[in-house]
Symmetry: C2
Subunit: 305 residues, 2 copies
Amino acid sequence: MSRTPPLFGDRLAAAVDAVGSPLCVGLDPHLDRLPPALRARFAGRTGADFRGLAADAAAEFCITAIDAVHGIAAALKPQVAFFEALGAPGVAALERTVAHARDRGMLVIADAKRGDISSTAAAYARAILDPQGPLAADAVTLAPYMGLDVVQPFLPWCRDHGRGVFVLVRTTNPGSALLQRHGSPEVAQVVADGLAELGAPLVGDSGLSSVGAVVGAFAAEEAAALRARMPAAWFLVPGVGAQGGGVAEALAGARSDGQGALVNSARGILFAAGGRDDDDPATAIAGRARALADQLRSCAGAASS
Amino acid sequence: MSRTPPLFGDRLAAAVDAVGSPLCVGLDPHLDRLPPALRARFAGRTGADFRGLAADAAAEFCITAIDAVHGIAAALKPQVAFFEALGAPGVAALERTVAHARDRGMLVIADAKRGDISSTAAAYARAILDPQGPLAADAVTLAPYMGLDVVQPFLPWCRDHGRGVFVLVRTTNPGSALLQRHGSPEVAQVVADGLAELGAPLVGDSGLSSVGAVVGAFAAEEAAALRARMPAAWFLVPGVGAQGGGVAEALAGARSDGQGALVNSARGILFAAGGRDDDDPATAIAGRARALADQLRSCAGAASS
């Protein structure tokens, strides 16, 4: 029986179905890569003055990007650090950006990598997932160094409000193996097993759970092994495009039917115009997003056939 | 030769010396535990209206607490989640709180447990540690699930601006052992060894480094073993008071001279007045802080004699 509101795993599956591709667009507003007309608004400013103007420019750019990828991308992943770097006006800009995505009916995964416990984690959950809260994102990324206690306070929002979490399992940065591949079984495998258990009561009609995992695109064989441990988890796969991952690697952790992997690209799509005034950013962003969405569609389709 | 500005390890050692106790006061403004007069300001409000009024009340309460523990506590540790739960006005309230602490000459450790890499981590470092940035805290807590890459972008701020980091090593929450004690050597030991290496170039005249560690108060034998691996690290020890840790356990990771452990207490000090109108919060907070500072002083003194 379907729930009201639907579970996040089903909401994300429906969003992927609607656009026909598992593309997630990362909203990482690097200030020095914004279009020149936007950069001019805060160039030469300092302090609080700079932060207010830069935050407005970042929000405007992200809103342009959201409109450009509407109907192409299944979800959006704002990187909260770029907004927080601008202080309170940056956080207000993030709130406006997320509100715009919601108005356009797009799912938002706040990439915050929070990882705390008890009342602190509960405060983060309210900050990010509460539908009545300041951000009201659909999902959030979490970091499990403190153990799976960090996930627990987010689960009521998953159960009762259609929210989701993506917990770091296996990443592709140079130093990632130090912890993630440590021991036997490896830490990443231990976390995967724990998440499968936590996510089991939250599997929707799609067969996918509200408790997802962040699994990098470079760890192709590992991704398949982690999929075996987490058959119902959505995998959020960062690193396609600017971070160098390929489309086939990004989908290595998908289920045998090609579903269950959401693939993120940020810089490769956002800064498609290369900062040149003579390019229209919206057109360039839409073009780049469509090309990657098509690649993902072909590749996921090939896997399932 | 001393540096200008001095390294964080030395700045913290000087702060502990100045007050004669390694007490850190946690600023965790639980809204439902604020004094009744402050709670009345946002009672019954909702949405953005609620968040603005609650943020102002939280800042006012924290500023009262800062003034009350000035000259008693060596440092302050605001928990950013409680501010972020209130959105942009909450972040503005955190900025005002930290600015007030700076005006009073007190060190601030932003408890943010950030843990990301490359340009994202660099954005968090600017957000939290940059002296020209919105928060300009003296130090920040970090979570190393992605490996020691998460620390790297913070090190230039440590080297050139007297800033510090405290990286999660061993915590005392129920699920902490899942990762932290996994493998042989244990993950916590692997992280400790890595931090000792990263921190070695940043050891000041005090013999203490800008790269510190979060080590919980319950892990007493473990704390001594971790101290052996990180002889120059400041240990930030959460969990004294409301979280149940004792003073002797909290100091178990100190060096043989009794130095090098900074002990945090939040709720046990902040909510000393018990929410009763007839108690003056400032007096109650100062009294509770002084009692704990005295206990820590005696215990650290006993260890070194």
